[in-house]
């Protein structure tokens, strides 16, 4: 708490002291570094944007522009340009929506839950996780608009009475959805921003030009007094507690979009926990993938260490086992119930037209759990990246199967149908993926990716003490 980023003017000096610090291991980042060296190690990658960075931004920007064109095309001509059809009224748009909401979950989980549990290994990865939450939610929030037939009337869903004093229908899960997602977006963005203020002040003290102006504005006049730290810590603890029920409720509500209908296989009481655990699973995997990539491209090996990937890999594995359990509980009951439509749906999944997706889903979601049991795989960034991407492919397929797979069959066989996405849907979905990466990339160049003040705080909290021949880390109660 008594830690303050030391104001040190001038530009970051070229840090030749930054040798690849793989040799200097230490779970708690207790290397012999001065605060200033840490500042510079974090700030340096933000200023070094090579041509490859701009090429990446260009490519992502082009994909986003094309996706916006596709969206406008869809608004202009009508929803018919998408592949959805009766009875598959909801297609990949809704599946991607669920996917993004799922990705957004791990950020808060890592950050808030682990902050409450005082798990110190979380410190370097919290900001990346929180940013992932905010950006994924922004992408998710687009989909309720994208899939509206009359998107120009979207504000009719916002809860305020219209000119006839009629409120929206609070019985509708879509209503709950909108309220939940907005709450979560505002909450998680505030949470991200709160923890950012001291680092903004730190960056302000190290920069000049437009960056100085930006950081000065975002630091909100932070000086690092005792009272400011006190208020920041209180605000963060309140937010960590409050945001956890929000994050659990958001994906429960998303699952109720499906579970409250009487569509076979949607109408299931297990959907809420199943969706939440699936969200945590895919979100943690996405976080692992992002961290591996960021660590490599921004040369943050010093802060994102194999210990973090080890711990994260364990969390992913646990979430994966939970997902398998919930999936199986849902499946066995429906299979055992032997309802004719559900039997047809299961048959369609396991050996029918949807079989490739189903088996992809099962492989991509179950295999990584087995691999992640090994420490050497968890700590190997390349392996971890491959597994994390595989998990997300699996979870995306799972959402797609739930949404359009189950709609393809219903009680009246005359109305059975199939679904095939068109170029419009693929472009719009690619737009949100590229948009997410673009926002995240730009964010990582503007905002210190590693929360410097938290790391310094962690360093203050621990000290190494020699007991006999043993070097023991000891914790001081400073929070």
């Amino acid at each position: 708490m008594s830690d303050q980023p030391e104001p040190s003017g001038g530009k970051p000096t070229p840090p030749e002291s930054l040798e690849p610090s793989e040799q200097v291991r230490g779970r708690l980042l207790l290397d012999q570094r001065t605060d200033r060296e840490i500042d510079e190690a974090v700030l340096r990658p933000m200023f070094e944007t090579g041509p490859r960075f701009w090429i990446l931004v260009g490519i992502l920007g082009a994909i986003v522009a094309w996706g916006i064109y596709a969206w406008i095309y869809q608004i202009y001509w009508g929803m018919g340009v998408a592949g959805i059809n009766r009875p598959v009224y909801w297609g990949l748009y809704i599946a991607t929506f669920v996917f993004w909401v799922g990705i957004s979950h791990a950020g808060t989980m890592i950050s808030a839950v682990l902050r409450l549990l005082k798990a110190d290994w979380r410190r370097p990865i919290t900001r990346g996780a929180e940013a992932m939450t905010s950006f994924a939610l922004m992408m998710a929030g687009l989909y309720p608009l994208i899939h509206l037939g009359r998107v120009w009337k979207f504000y009719w869903m916002i809860p305020y009475p219209n000119n006839r004093f009629m409120w929206p229908n609070f019985q509708s899960p879509l209503m709950w959805d909108m309220v939940a997602i907005f709450t979560y977006l505002i909450g998680s963005t505030l949470y991200l921003y709160l923890a950012l203020i001291p680092d903004m002040a730190m960056a302000r003290d190290h920069t000049d030009g437009w960056r100085y102006k930006l950081y000065r504005g975002m630091a909100l006049g932070w000086r690092g007094t005792q009272g400011e730290w006190h208020k920041l810590h209180r605000a963060l603890s309140i937010f960590s507690v409050v945001i956890i029920p929000v994050f659990l409720s958001v994906h429960s509500i998303v699952s109720w979009d499906f579970a409250v209908t009487i569509q076979p296989r949607w109408h299931s009481t297990i959907f809420a926990p199943y969706f939440v655990i699936g969200a945590v699973y895919s979100g943690l995997a996405a976080l692992a993938a992002i961290l591996v990539i960021v660590r490599r491209t921004m040369r943050l090996q010093e802060f994102l260490r194999s210990e973090h990937f080890d711990a994260l890999g364990k969390l992913v594995m646990v979430a994966g086992m939970g997902w398998i359990y919930f999936w199986f509980s849902g499946f066995i009951v429906e299979w055992y119930g032997n309802d004719p439509v559900i039997r047809e749906l299961i048959h369609e999944e396991i050996s029918g037209g949807l079989a490739p997706f189903f088996w992809l889903q099962m492989t991509a979601n179950v295999l990584p759990v087995l691999f992640l049991a090994f420490r050497r795989i968890r700590t190997n960034p390349a392996f971890l990246l491959a597994l994390a991407l595989l998990i997300n492919v699996g979870m995306y397929t799972e959402r797609a199967l739930i949404v359009f797979g189950n709609l393809e069959r219903n009680y009246l066989p005359f109305n059975w149908g199939t679904y095939r996405p068109t170029w419009v849907e693929v472009s719009v979905i690619a737009m949100t993926f590229a948009g997410f990466i673009l926002l995240y990339t730009l964010f990582s160049r503007i905002v210190p990716y590693v929360p410097v003040w938290e790391i310094k705080e962690g360093r203050l909290r621990y000290s190494l003490r020699r007991i006999g021949r043993l070097l023991v880390p000891t914790a001081a109660e400073i929070e």
């Binding site: 009508g78 018919g80 959805i84 037939g149 009719w156 509708s172 209908t261 009487i262 009246l412």
Partner: protein, 246 residues
């Protein structure tokens, strides 16, 4: 048998109100699709064109479901007209965020086109899949544009629509009856599908009036309701067919 197949009146304010219902005699249906055409004409239902129709985007408010029974050469064709079942416990109603679909006092499941924003949630929730979506801007190629019904609003693209039991005809009949001072006679209201049915397979009337034609038909041992086990409590009653062999 009497209680078995009737839409319940419990959600209505008082039982003396009307509960419009339809009886469909499957033994009489020949699958001629006259009702489909009549419905298109009466309700300004757009014709989507060849290509969209081939991909299954027809917008019929009433459709003839055809099922085959048996193996060749002993094949029977079964026809079943399916329209909005006007459920008392409609799965589509609570899910709409903007009240575009709601329950009228008469128990009708009404759709307000101007309120609809096109979430298609009702379409996913409907177990009968009778809700159709305007995928594109509705077009009425000449000379269809000349015969639009002025009593029914044209819909825009991006909204859901469905069978209304020809509510414009219901209101017209009620107005005529109250203007002439006579009570609304049974059979005075004729939805377009029923009017055009050559074999009189469809019968329409007030289910709450025990003397009405539909109420008496609903007592038949052949009466059943579509997907009754879902508890949607529909107002459309089917009379089982069995003897027709096409």
């Amino acid at each position: 048998m009497e209680k078995a197949v009737k839409p319940s009146a419990k959600t209505q304010k008082n039982a003396s109100e009307r509960r419009w219902g339809m009886v469909i005699d499957l033994d009489r249906c020949t699958g001629c699709q006259a009702c489909v055409v009549a419905c298109h004409a009466e309700n300004n239902v757009p014709v989507v064109g060849e290509r969209e129709a081939a991909s299954g985007r027809t917008m019929h408010w009433i459709r003839i479901e055809r099922y085959w029974e048996g193996e060749y050469p002993n094949v029977k064709a079964r026809f079943m007209p399916v329209l909005c079942q006007q459920c008392t416990q409609a799965p589509c109603e609570p899910v709409c965020p903007v009240f575009a679909t709601y329950h009228t006092a008469e128990g009708l499941n009404a759709q307000i086109y101007n309120r609809c924003i096109g979430t298609r949630f009702c379409g996913s929730a409907c177990p009968y899949k009778v809700r159709v979506f305007n995928w594109f801007r509705p077009e009425f190629p000449e000379p269809l544009g000349e015969q639009l019904n002025p009593d029914v609003s044209e819909r825009s693209r991006g909204i859901i629509e469905k069978c209304s039991f020809c509510i414009q005809r219901l209101r017209r009949a009620e107005l005529d009856a109250s203007a002439s001072g006579n009570p609304l006679a049974d059979g005075a209201v004729q939805p377009a599908c029923l009017q055009s049915c050559p074999s009189s397979a469809l019968i329409f009337g007030d289910m709450n009036d025990p003397e009405s034609h539909v109420s008496r038909l609903a007592l038949s041992h052949r009466a059943f309701r579509l997907l009754d086990f879902l508890g949607t409590d529909p107002a459309v009653i089917y009379l089982k067919g069995g003897e027709t062999n096409v």
